[in-house]
Amino acid sequence: MKEIDLMIIGGGPAGLSAAKVALEAGLKVMIVDRNMSLGGQLIKQTHKFFGSEKQYAKTRGFDIAKRLIDKLAVHKDNLEICLETTAVGLYKDYVVTTLQGETYTKYRSKSIIIATGASEKVLAFENNDLPGVYGAGAVQTLMNLYGVIPGKKALMVGSGNIGLIVSYQMMQAGIEVLAIVEAAPKIGGYKVHAAKIRRLGVPIHTSTTVKRAVGKDQVEAVVTVELDEKWKEIPGTEKTYETDIVCISVGLSPLHQLLSMAEIEMRYIPELGGLVPIVDEFNETSMEKVFVCGDVIGVEEASSAMVEGSLAGLIAAKRLGKEHPEHEARLDDYLKQLSDLRNGPFGIKTRVGLKKLRGVGDAR
């Protein structure tokens, strides 16, 4: 079995940020990622990011990924990157099993950072298995990574930031977005994102959801229906759109499976997106020296994922006896950045969720 200092599972914004700080502190690091390249979801984000300069605000997502990856280059002697490699097992004795192609490998890692991110939620409706019903992430992958448009006309289901951004990106790719429907009574994402789509003539219908997709071999139309204040369908409000894409963007759930496998203590926190590990203030789980960062500990923005990653790298290094030369200053800085990023109205869910998770404060 291969012995390593620190294994980071997931090479997205959180994992890459964790790697950088841990490498600076002198750890030997391995990053395992199931995708063909590092960067996680950032590599298909073509829009400019929010936040402040420290989180690369106003930089486009794929450029943020490049910067995070480039910063690891100086540490290449202490860094091993395993791409197209899936961590399929995590055990109580710090053994991680990976699968690359048809080869299983076992590692024992002194510390482990889980940065697996989140996966898209699905939506149950009639014919949701017809070709042409896509998750928003798949649409982004096709368009922004592979340069393939998934169809000609689209109905977007969900008005969170992903739904709004992917609608905009579909329009940039030349797809006609017929409408955005949102089951909640209010638009979920940033109003600036909503406004920049609305001003191009795309209507946003709140209190409306998808009833069924229609088609024989693929989506040919989609039927929507309005919802009352109790989220019950209002008969007679059905509306049919002729379309070949129904794009689903109804939220994300933390990818908790590895944590659950190691019997790490978990709790279901709706505000954080689902099942998340119970952690201390530095995101250390009930399994000593196993840390989490990014969407796996609560669905948020890439900005906070990067800061959480840096924090995890910093603490992991200290716990392995290789304190980062700027430990104290960095610790203060990361905690302050996180608190600043969560300080606005959009941070409420995370603030409430984390309080519930840690069982302190004025949790609802």
Binding site: K48, I187, E301, D340
Partner: protein, 159 residues
């Protein structure tokens, strides 16, 4: 209304315009109506004309005395929520962010759209910039009739 439709009300829009006496010179219009964790407009303004109360989570406020209308904020705003406007005789001259193809050329006439995407007027393309630091957010200078000052928001190619 903004919450449900993505369209700000007329009074909300007007609240972001300085007094028209300022508009003899170009001034930034900050159409950011929500407290989100974001500050590049303020940190990138070379004239310190944009203030965010707590530094990150409040809506930006423009000091029209300090704003020169340079337009750096237009492409610094990740939400594409900033334009610059000046009144030039009977025209309102806007600088707006634009991220679609085709990119307009000066001299062309495009459709001017309001905040719900309806065509309201002709929009004469005066200038187009696409420098490296704009990072692919093209800034289009466009003239529309002055009476659309509070309605015009973007352009669409004429079919």
């Amino acid at each position: 209304m903004l919450d449900k439709t993505g369209v700000p009300t007329d009074s909300l829009v007007r609240s972001r315009f300085p007094d028209t006496s300022f508009l003899v010179k170009p001034k930034a219009i900050l159409e950011c109506y929500e407290d989100i964790s974001c500050n590049p407009c303020a940190t990138n303004c070379p004239f310190k004309a944009i203030t965010i109360a707590d530094g990150l989570n409040s809506q930006p406020v423009l000091n029209p005395e300090l704003c020169t209308g340079c337009g750096i904020c237009i492409y610094s705003c990740p939400g594409l929520a900033i334009s610059v406007v000046q009144i030039v005789e009977d025209k309102a001259r806007f600088k707006i962010p634009y991220e679609f193809l085709p990119i307009p050329n000066s001299g062309e006439v495009w459709s001017g759209l309001n905040r719900t995407g309806e065509r309201i007027c002709d929009a004469s393309i005066i200038n187009v910039t696409d420098s490296k630091r704009q990072d692919k957010t093209v800034v289009v200078t466009v003239d529309v009739d002055k009476k659309y000052l509070y309605e015009f928001i973007t352009i669409k190619v004429q079919k």
